[in-house]
Symmetry: C2
Subunit: 539 residues, 2 copies
Amino acid sequence: MQSYALTVDKFLDHAAKWRGEREVVTAGGGRISYAALRERSNLLSGALAHLGLEFGDRLATLAWNTQHHLELYYATMGAGLVCHTLNPRLPPAQLAAMVNEAEDEVIAVAANLSPLLDEILPLCPGLRGVILMDGGEVGEGRPAVDTWTLEALLESHGRAVTWGDFAEETPAGLCYTSGTTGRPKGVLYTHRSNYLHTLRALQADAIALTGEDSLLVAVPMFHANGWGLPFAAPAVGAKLVLPGRQADGASLTELMRREGVTIAAGVQTVWLGVVEHLDATGGDLPDLKRVLIGGSSCPEALIRRLEDRLGARVQTSWGMTELSPVGVIAPPNAPAGAQRASGRPPMGLDLKLTGADGIALPQQRGVVGHLKVKGASVVDRYFKADADVLDEEGYFDTGDLARLDEAGNLTLCGRSKDLIKSGGEWINPADIEDIVGRHPQVVQAAVIARQHPRWGERPVLIVEALPGADLDPRELIDALRGQVADWQLPDLVIQVAAMPLAATGKIDKNRLRADYGTEGAAGDGARLGEPRPDDAPGS
Amino acid sequence: MQSYALTVDKFLDHAAKWRGEREVVTAGGGRISYAALRERSNLLSGALAHLGLEFGDRLATLAWNTQHHLELYYATMGAGLVCHTLNPRLPPAQLAAMVNEAEDEVIAVAANLSPLLDEILPLCPGLRGVILMDGGEVGEGRPAVDTWTLEALLESHGRAVTWGDFAEETPAGLCYTSGTTGRPKGVLYTHRSNYLHTLRALQADAIALTGEDSLLVAVPMFHANGWGLPFAAPAVGAKLVLPGRQADGASLTELMRREGVTIAAGVQTVWLGVVEHLDATGGDLPDLKRVLIGGSSCPEALIRRLEDRLGARVQTSWGMTELSPVGVIAPPNAPAGAQRASGRPPMGLDLKLTGADGIALPQQRGVVGHLKVKGASVVDRYFKADADVLDEEGYFDTGDLARLDEAGNLTLCGRSKDLIKSGGEWINPADIEDIVGRHPQVVQAAVIARQHPRWGERPVLIVEALPGADLDPRELIDALRGQVADWQLPDLVIQVAAMPLAATGKIDKNRLRADYGTEGAAGDGARLGEPRPDDAPGS
């Protein structure tokens, strides 16, 4: 059969040829057809060559979900450059370290992130070019670097080039892990891994996107390929709706209504914002059929609330940067009960549960194990690492604990690093967080270990309550009683005004451990109570 | 990212692990879970090794759609053997030529095809083993070959082996083209081409199969991978329903009803049989949602009749052996009008229309051109051929003429070889067949060239009418008038009792040309009339 390289530029070519009139719409920006966007992106590849970027070179982006960002995805990848997406919510020093490790030569920056760029530039001597996106203007004061607006660069040096004329194993993108549990590590995606991830996601039992859909991508394009949706949408010719920087409920509601969004992807807090806006204003979203949520498991009550108010099905999933990122996903038509789990692996992702010793559990269903995965879109070694991170069977350790029900639906059960060892026995924070999270007045709950002279570690429960709620710690502990062993009950309940979040929106447990992980630590949460006696385990 | 070979054994592994309880059901045979079928197929790989088959060797099958045939698909391919499917409707000499060219070492034969095997064996000295499938018994009289029933072979020599431990470019299957327009040519599928074909077909805008579906495969597994459905069904864990040899309306109706079939694939004549049975018996198929038809374009009246009577959507498509085989496909939710076309190419198949000179037409929409395709599941060179069959841009010439509408939907417009050159001008038989085919009393229509001393070639119309119909040739010609140029009107109308069909069910135009292509040829069709004067073109 034909040799035919699986390169991502083919997605945009396909859209331009078969759905050329379908649009990419940016909130507060413009709208453009796939045919025109393909042409601009291709000309932009030529302009990047003019900046001296050659096959294999890396360009960084510091940007929101916009047309310009999408054009840079394809302009870089199509020409065999690597698109290194940076998370604008990270501190400048961390961003600079990533830019330097990646040896990025040019950085493309959203105009409203210019102040952040000014902090990064002095730390990154290797950067020799800046492209300002989304309407920025070239100011004074960056003499060391060649600065262009994207439009001026395209105008002056746009040139049509041949895309994709290279091996499918060519690197296409680079993204660093969120680093909530350690130093951020780079994941280098290839054309092949992204292409196969896309075909896998398009299955009718997975994201099931069609050419008739209007897709809102409210997950950031700067992280983990934006769930791969910037590839999936043109692959089928779906209308692509990009929210720019604005992810608040009012902005998203207006955008979704105006653009007839049928499928929308984002983390649960985004949808909570939309629901609160709809509650306050009384509107609805008549075209919306389905909402994809990712990250950790979503409380059932929240799913019901979202479905009722949005008038759309909630589709749960789980993934991670190292998986490109989609891992498991519930089918679009999953029965309501199955939604509490994150779903099954679609064809193309292998998965096993092991013990702490790395050996596959003899019984894979109904027990909690360490989650290992394998597939064409799964990392083998981190960027610039000396060794791979695979076990003998070629599986990658996700660092997550998980359980499979009899039907094979996966439920995440916390991070293996978060496990608390108390008196020689394990306590899984996720078990407690799950139960406390169902309390009607609790917004978010987190359990961390606190050092203890006798038991080694003891669990501390940290909660964020609804505004104005009057939480009783005994009520929370009572809810846990009978659900977990008595010696697993938290020793202390602390209420915080707002849960600290990492740049990706996940709860920042490192911060919680620093603030509350030792007696007398500096956290400013209110000590709600100490429901447990000191001699907790085995009492 | 991980190296992860795209091999088809992963489909069955996936089904066994994630949908292990879902069934493969054979009409008149048994039912088995994917988990058990995976185990049997794997043990069978070991048994084939006992027969001396080694990596790269070829095993022929002469079989219907049954569990045993499916087990042989996976037993061969999983172990790196090539499964060479033979069409039992071909003459023995032709089959023997294929077996010999392919150097098949073992042949697996449906019990009820033993008589055919006895005709082939003496012509194939290279065959040294026979496996009898579907309940056959080893008789006397084949001393030269080692003969087993599949069950006895499995019982005696079944042994678990490691599947798929080879490169994805490894050959997996071999199938010869139908040869309606020339000598049959072998197409050697690889694991990669089949795997990618499957992912492509599973898209929500393509076959959109889900794990909840019950799929009837009424297209033969002996031809072109059975549309790839023996891969697609386990890939998503759909129930797989195999009709064995019986493809008549009564048998299929009973099977579909009993097994709750939701999606069914077959050529249009199969569905006509089901509709006629339902008309005669008054039953219905409450679970059926969708019917996939392939081959050439289906008359709109037939689509309407099928949809009304079956209570299901008809999904049109076009493909060919060389494409693994799916080319374009209408989406499951296509608006009724778009069904007259065969659909758009799903992501992963590139397509262009050229002139007879092979140069891409400047305008790709609204005109008829020569259809060329490119993709990971498209042939590059025929089996044992010396040269590839691709143009300079890497496209394969399908030999078909086609038109794209403004929305990109493809309509086949006949074979380029069937074009008739009359007085230096082209006549496309498909234009005439399409119009005549809409006549309520016409079952099938075919137009062929007849040699003519003055004009070179002139069109002859051959029709098969509904039983008992009294066709008036002038009425047919009148229907054409104004739709095609006057000089393109057929000179002669011939009515046949039954249209001659090739082994794949397509109209056998070679046969028609032999019977009716010259003045005084031997065909026994009734000469309905000669509506045109002798000096036809340009009159």
